[in-house]
């Protein structure tokens, strides 16, 4: 255990992205990361399944991506910061992704914010 993270396991709804996670989910994260390239975006939009197979994703990972299951992806080991690049391709804003991860509708989530018009 990394001593800098001591006590983190008691914090609900928080998933540490460390080298263990990163190593386990490297292919998934690389696939999500590649969405910063216009070619990768076009390949994915043309044929989602082919693009994911080419990237070596497992059946579980492909299902999570198909479903745009943002919380599931995080729990599986995706880094939020590559996931948000894929969210742009999936045409969802970060605020929409946040609402889904909290298990709320977009309007429910925005109602919890101080300035819901700030988007």
């Amino acid at each position: 255990m990394n001593p800098q993270l001591e006590g983190i396991e008691d914090l609900a709804g928080t998933y540490v992205f460390d080298l263990r996670t990163s190593h386990r989910a490297l292919k998934l994260n690389r696939f999500l990361w590649r969405m910063i390239g216009a070619d990768a975006r076009e390949d994915f939009l043309a044929d989602e399944e082919a693009a994911m197979k080419k990237a070596g994703l497992s059946e579980t990972e492909m299902a999570l991506v198909f479903a745009r299951d943002w919380l599931g992806l995080i729990k599986h080991g995706a880094s939020f910061f590559v996931m948000e690049k894929f969210a742009r391709v999936a045409r969802q804003t970060n605020l929409e992704v946040y609402a889904i991860m909290r298990g709320e509708t977009f309007d429910e989530f925005m109602a919890t914010r101080r300035v819901p018009e700030c988007r």
Binding site: Q4, L5, T14, I36, Y98, R119
Partner: protein
Amino acid sequence: MARIIGGIGTSHVPTIGVAYDKGKQTDPAWAPLFDGYKPVAAWLAEHKPDALVFFYNDHATSFFFDLYPTFALGIGESFEVADEGAGKRPLPPLRGDLDLQIHIAESLVNDEFDIATFQDRPIDHGCASPLPLMWPHDPDWPGTVVPIAINVLQFPLPTARRCYKLGQAVKRAIESYPVDLKVVVVGTGGLSHQVHGERTGFNDEEWDREFLDLFENDPMRLTRLTHADYIRRGGAESVEQIMWLAMRGALEGPIRSIHQNYYLATTTAMTVALYEPVEPLYQDAEKLSVAAQ
């Protein structure tokens, strides 16, 4: 000799860049954010620094996890602003001062701070989100940027104390650069926010205010906090505030807050703060005693 004339702490929320590009500067929901940068822009226009040293983090754009540096310094005369999935932003490439960057790299490594270097990589919102709010850039930026990327994404991260020490080493590097340059150090990130998992949306304004107070008056206490402390008190992604401590290390000693703006609208406590170093009292005393002799 080059010298550090000030420090800026700023959030680097990507949405700031989106709102900026869409021209939302006077939108009532966004104006409190954009207006908060005006005093910083005015200060920079008045003091005209030659270079901004940016302690920022890459969001797996310039680097992927197959090779993710703990600390990395950008070397180049220009850096493209990155496409992060939504296309290119309408900003000119950042300008770089090759001699200054290489001097800082040489000074850090010879000072046993073994920083990685990178070339020819685009730079993402960690640096490019707040920059245009502070620095005019039509047709080009008024000065150069020294990008220093810090890993705050993939644990193990450098400790808060290590970031402060990086700042101290960068200060030594700048102050040993034999060209008469004015430098401002910038630390980006925060304040409280969490953007993953069910705890997404966490904020704590009380902690944010305490952080800002300690940052100015007792930064060593912040260097003793663990990553878990930052995550618990400010939300998982607020751990990136350790990058402010690199800026604080480069401003070692007493500082004075010139301006501060805090706007917690949706998920991140968007903050900008401007500091100037205060001449230590003992230096004044020395000057007086020299004058008396």
